[in-house]
Symmetry: D2
Subunit: 342 residues, 4 copies
């Protein structure tokens, strides 16, 4: 970290700053330019509050050299992580399709979809029991009963399940859930993240719609810092001025996240675009950009879905898409230019 | 609400849609254009899930005429709301300055600041006990002890206090807190909002950094729908490409929110700009735009603040600012052009 | 177009509005709801100024049903356009790689690169002679001499050339240029667009960094309205809060533009990301999303490039990438799910 | 400027970089940290292309200490600039209201408005002759005739006039225009800016809807570098996700621009908000934030305006607003906390 000091500063204040920094086990070097003084800090600065230093009277600017994410970053963990989700591997070449309806509606619905997506090649089943909705008057999911039906579908199909948690208080209901999803709106619900850090269960962490990649990795860091190393990141669109799609799918996030972090990276084209016609092209694009898996909404009867039907694929559309995905993955494996780890 | 149907639709599907809508106690009128059919829905459509209808095969587009916020909106509640925060009135001409440090640090600190801001004209004391921080390695506030010190400062100064809650599980600690703040990151923590709706205590709801005004009002609606009518909204900057300030203070939100809703509207220039030098001009601008109050960070010794010191005013700066604010409020009251309710 | 009127309006004003609309050869239908009146306008409303109607006292809202882009839109031109750029076809299955340096530097440089990219499969040569630069103190291109060198490279390699125009006054220099590029900053330089509409030469129109897709199509409409039908659109990243890449590549724009318009759509991953390591994955993603071609910066010696060297590929990297692109295009052609025209 | 080098670099490359930098008359200091090497560059770096250095193989990051705007910045020109627009002073305490219609329509219209706004206190008359419109089918202004009518209104009222130029080729028509406006879409039309730099006439430069403040100042730098020192900046709203107003008025830009630059700063609340009801509160807010003047659309009969009538004030509304503005300016002058020059 480099601390750039203001001109003509009080030497006493400077000495007191240096002493304080050294008390934090940092090696401080004073670099005298022409009228400009810099401090170069060496050692573990990841716990240092950069805003605190910036706030000091004598400091002009602070420049972090070392990344602030030591557990999610590649520096101390260069090899790709592989998650094990009840026997299904994800990451470092293990690609997974995670498919299912936006919302669990009935046993017939969820079990039917489970069988259909498994036949098409999905490795995990997704479905919402608790639904975060902008308006209190919108359908909020069927709750506990949804979890029960997902477990029944898992039992019948053999697919591990992933479903979203909205609050710490729901945690006991998630005991048999194979992977817990944290939605975009809760990406900075830090108390929830801390609690998930105490588990030893895979967590799917979605990027908030206005989160930088650094913020996403720092939210992952909250979970990893608790000792839970089973985290997968998910790009699902960011909020911009662009208005033909619900959100703007930021696919550059895939190769960037994979270069910064060892964690697997998923993409959710269904929520990002909000339109089923855009899901196939953006799914293929995500795979070509190097994603480790996709989260895709599938519904047997989209027009009658209780939630977000306009973005769901029919099982037969999902099946056709899965074949193209396989073809593209084969292209990537022939060389290395597009694998995202460039 | 107007439902615009696609061309050449199946008449059976249309009849079934009309029947379903009528079953929801809506008055449905079919309007036949040239090749285009519209349905006009009259009655209470606030509980209708607009996405559900959009998802139907035969529907081209849905246009909501009635606002979706019936409790926060002005339609059924035209007069301005007035909150009573332990004897301090806010809204409809009752303007309040809410001041204090970003973070509670010690009894001496918080009590000293409380006296100073009260002397300068503040009506409430703010201070953070639990701090939401992007990185798990940043200072997270002093927790329970912070609440205890705030109550001590309230006791000594007579100022009601407002402080932020981060999780449902912290609620018991907030029993004697006069107004509970929901931070920008929790604006869509719906389980928390529902719980606050069960209280009968003022809630300060901050706009999320990428929330539309409709989303902010719908989050307020979650609290109001529970029966708690004591809600105040707060603009604190949105995330844009602009990078000289921490966030972009969206002051147009003030007159827009006041025209859509009867709830009081505050502005927090300290968090929006992140720089103390910008707090005075943006405070005055917020007042001129019609804000019902301001949230301003004040610290006796900003360079030594444990958190966000670079955005805090010194007590004497706050005092000078408060005087100018009074002057501007007097200008507004001479006529009506700038009162935000235009 | 549907005009939604306010409640309790003056009948005289209404009649006068209807008469005016009918004078514009529109078929106007009055639709009376319960307290609400709508006007449905049928006929060619593309020339109608929607803001003008919205401004009327008695109008609540105007909703356009018909698209405002009649020449660039698919409605009256359902089949894909194919451009002929001096013998090279682009669009409707004709995919082209357009490669070359950011800036033309010398005859040796541009001719060397021309041969190298042709060998790797490029169909056109790109290179900047006039460079739009944010600062007046940055390198501004070598001007006229750059055009002369590009023509020499065209002569030697046989590749048609594309280069950027910055001002109407430069037009005479572009006589032998095969395709004229309008950069993002000039996308709404309407006087320039009108002049290009008078030519019968292909134009490559880049999306402005904060343009909606509707605005891009309306800028294309300026050229098409002049009678020049040879327009190709190019997505090159939009400005968002996200800060790891120079801009955010909005790949959803590809399938959306292709569904709205018959014009070919290119992607420029070099300018969008600003980092050479991200060019291969985002190139592959763009192809998988259905792009009709790519604009890629290639330089024999990126670290010594006079401009944007950090985003240029070396010829051998470009060669490897071109092979993978071919592989992915073969995957798309096996079915139809990812061809962008869904 | 500080150049941070990569670890383990080639010493020959380093020496050659240092030699090159020294050849540019810079004083280069090598600073050796632990594994990290920095170069500190002293001297005039304003002409240095930062991207060029970043592109070098051995460079990790470049940090500019000195501002890149030497003519528009305060460093070498600490005192506020004062423009003289045909006898009307603007800047450094000279506040001006610039008012008039979006579009010039007829002699009666423009002369009537000119007299009305002068009576209310306006110092300059604005009006559009050439209108940049997103669609080629929208009203494009009345052109040359508009300039002629503006000059007539100037003659009758005595108010200097400001109107927008859209293209270099229109320049001869602007000979008698007192201040030339460059619109948001042309802020980076560099050829136009260079030509305006050759004039000795005031230029009103509007911020592009997605321009950073640095980009705005660098565009001003293009004009100043040509020798024309009469430039005034104008904030008119930026494009964000927020959708209740046309653009998001970024009022923090006022104090930030005034701290970075000596140029006067105007605000245009009419275009930023797009709604006449928001113009009064945002005008007052802009004044309170420290603006040197406002650009306000006034029309005698807004519902019949040919362009943007929904954002125009009636003369009597403008008159009432002007009085409140005077009151607020008096508040600011009583002290210094809110004068934007903090």
């Amino acid at each position: 970290m480099i601390v750039i000091l203001k001109e003509n500063i009080n030497q006493e204040q400077l000495e007191s700053l240096i002493q304080w920094l050294e008390s934090l086990a940092l090696n401080v070097q004073k670099i005298q330019g022409c009228g400009q003084t810099l401090l170069s800090l060496l050692g573990d600065t990841s716990g240092l509050d950069i805003d605190l230093i910036r706030a000091l009277d004598i400091v002009e600017e602070v420049k972090r050299i070392q990344e602030p994410f030591r557990r999610s970053g590649r520096k101390f963990h260069p090899q790709n992580s592989i998650l094990d989700i009840n026997g299904i591997k994800l990451g470092d070449g293990h690609f997974q399709l995670i498919a299912g309806p936006c919302s669990v509606e009935s046993e017939e619905q969820i079990c039917g979809i489970a069988h259909a997506v498994k036949a098409a090649g999905a490795g995990l089943l997704r479905g919402g029991a608790f639904k975060p909705r902008t308006s209190p008057y919108s359908f909020q999911g069927i709750g506990d009963e949804g979890i029960r039906l997902l477990l029944e579908a898992k039992h019948q199909s053999g697919l591990p399940i992933v479903t979203e948690i909205m609050s710490l208080s729901q945690l006991p209901l998630f005991e048999e859930v194979d992977m817990i999803q944290v939605g975009a709106r809760n990406m900075q619900n830090f108390e929830l993240l801390k609690a998930l850090g105490q588990l030893r269960k895979p967590v799917l962490l979605k990027r908030g719609i206005s989160s930088t990649l650094e913020e996403l990795l720092l939210s992952a860091e909250y979970i990893l810092a608790g000792g839970n190393e089973q985290v997968v990141l998910c790009e699902r669109g960011i909020r911009t001025f662009s208005n033909y799609t619900r959100n703007t799918l930021d696919l550059s996030a895939v190769p960037v996240l994979k270069s910064l972090s060892h964690l697997p990276v998923l993409v959710d084209p269904s929520h990002a675009t909000g339109k089923s016609s855009l899901v196939p092209p953006m799914s293929l694009a995500a795979v070509a950009a190097g994603a480790d898996g996709l989260l895709i909404e599938v519904h047997s009867n989209p027009p009658c879905a209780l939630c977000d039907g306009q973005q769901a694929l029919r099982p037969e559309e999902f099946h056709g898409l899965a074949k193209k995905i396989q073809c593209i993955r084969a292209c990537l494996n022939e060389g290395s230019a597009g694998d995202g780890n460039v």
